[in-house]
């Protein structure tokens, strides 16, 4: 199945000058670009996405087009935010940040996912947490955090050790658990599709006896907020059941933010690269 590409007239808004052809185009301020994106007609919906919305999320057929417009906007808006955070233009992102929730000062295990605007959870946490340590596959120029960049197998293998060291030195850690297939993953179901979740965070949570917290950046209209929720504690005496509860809660939270607003689904990365299929280009 072919993948959807940006309509040419929207490309300058999204590309942030990454495309040499559009480098001459002055990028739009984020708040204006978000408004403009909402006025552009999306391309025809991928049948897989339609099926996921109706069968997985319970979207009514007659409401699908409205749902799809919002989901498609979320996909574009995510790229716009991620592009600005990557290119050091976080002041534009700051302008669309709504009221943030306090995130506390004691060392915490924050669990992310590929939902909402790209990079925004790290950005918001870095503003609210004194010393944030992130494990991520892609470095982002969001500042105010330390990053363990999992650029090689060695870095993947030492990620939990790096997170443990960070927690021991009273830093908070952040890592997205909606990982791809690999050795450190467990099976789960997302929108009725088989997916895998990285197991390191709940295991680490059990090891250090610090409960993990969901930290997703989510859309509230055209503003960004931080969605925080507690995950079940891991009881080492009943590890199997504990992990199972943890995985279910994690996936349920991702599905819940997607149900609340389809713009939060993002449609790329994480579970979308797995059983749910990559509907859009990354």
């Amino acid at each position: 199945m072919s993948r959807t590409t940006f309509p040419p007239d929207l490309d300058p808004v999204v590309s942030m000058g990454a495309d040499p052809i559009h480098q001459r185009t002055r990028p739009w301020p984020l708040s204006e670009a978000l408004e403009l994106a909402a006025t552009v007609e999306p391309p025809a919906a991928d049948p897989r996405l339609r099926s996921l919305a109706i069968r997985g999320l319970g979207v009514r057929r007659r409401k699908f087009q409205d749902w799809y417009r919002r989901a498609w906007w979320g996909w574009i808006a995510s790229r716009m935010v991620g592009g600005r955070l990557n290119s050091g233009r976080s002041e534009e992102v700051e302008e669309v940040v709504g009221e943030s929730m306090p995130v506390g000062s004691s060392p915490t295990i924050f669990v992310g996912a590929h939902v909402g605007p790209a990079g925004a959870a790290r950005y918001l946490l870095a503003q609210g947490v004194d010393r944030l340590f992130c494990v991520a596959a892609t470095p982002m120029a969001v500042g105010h955090e330390e990053v363990h960049n999992v650029k090689s197998e060695f870095h993947r293998k030492t990620a939990p050790l790096a997170m443990l060291s960070a927690l021991e030195s009273r830093r908070s850690v952040y890592f997205a658990a909606d990982g791809r297939h690999g050795p450190d993953v467990a099976d789960a179901r997302f929108l009725k599709h088989r997916v895998t979740i990285r197991t390191q965070l709940p295991q680490l949570s059990g090891r250090v006896q610090i409960p993990a917290r969901i930290a997703f950046a989510t859309w509230r209209g055209r503003q960004i907020g931080l969605h925080l929720a507690d995950l079940p504690p891991i009881e080492t005496s009943d590890l199997g059941s504990s992990l199972s509860r943890w995985f279910k809660s994690y996936v349920a939270e991702i599905e819940a933010v997607g149900r609340a607003d389809p713009a939060n689904l993002r449609l790329v990365g994480g579970f979308w690269r797995q059983g749910a299929g990559g509907v859009f280009d990354d």
Binding site: S152, F154, K157, T158, P160, L161, S165, D184, T199, L204
Partner: protein, 78 residues
């Protein structure tokens, strides 16, 4: 002070593997440690030796069982 055999014993204990050679990989394509297993191994060895084994850890140190044993014993002796 612990020697090579003590490091190998810790490896056996944490991985559950037996009869491996020093050329084997530490990870899934060798003695089978995943990233949490590797964390447990480092913690076990730090508890045994009282030495911080994390700060200088680099890619060559985990290329094989032999390289890792070398890394640990060198650290203990310095």
């Amino acid at each position: 002070m612990i020697d090579r055999s003590a490091v190998l014993e810790a490896l056996e204990q944490v991985s559950g593997a037996e009869g491996f050679s020093e050329h084997d990989s530490l990870f899934e394509d060798g003695i089978g440690l995943d990233s949490m297993g590797f964390l447990e191994l480092i913690l076990e060895l730090e508890a045994l030796t009282g030495v911080d084994l994390r700060n200088d850890l680099d890619e060559p140190a985990v290329l094989s069982v032999g390289a890792f044993v070398e890394y640990v014993t060198n650290h203990i002796s310095t």
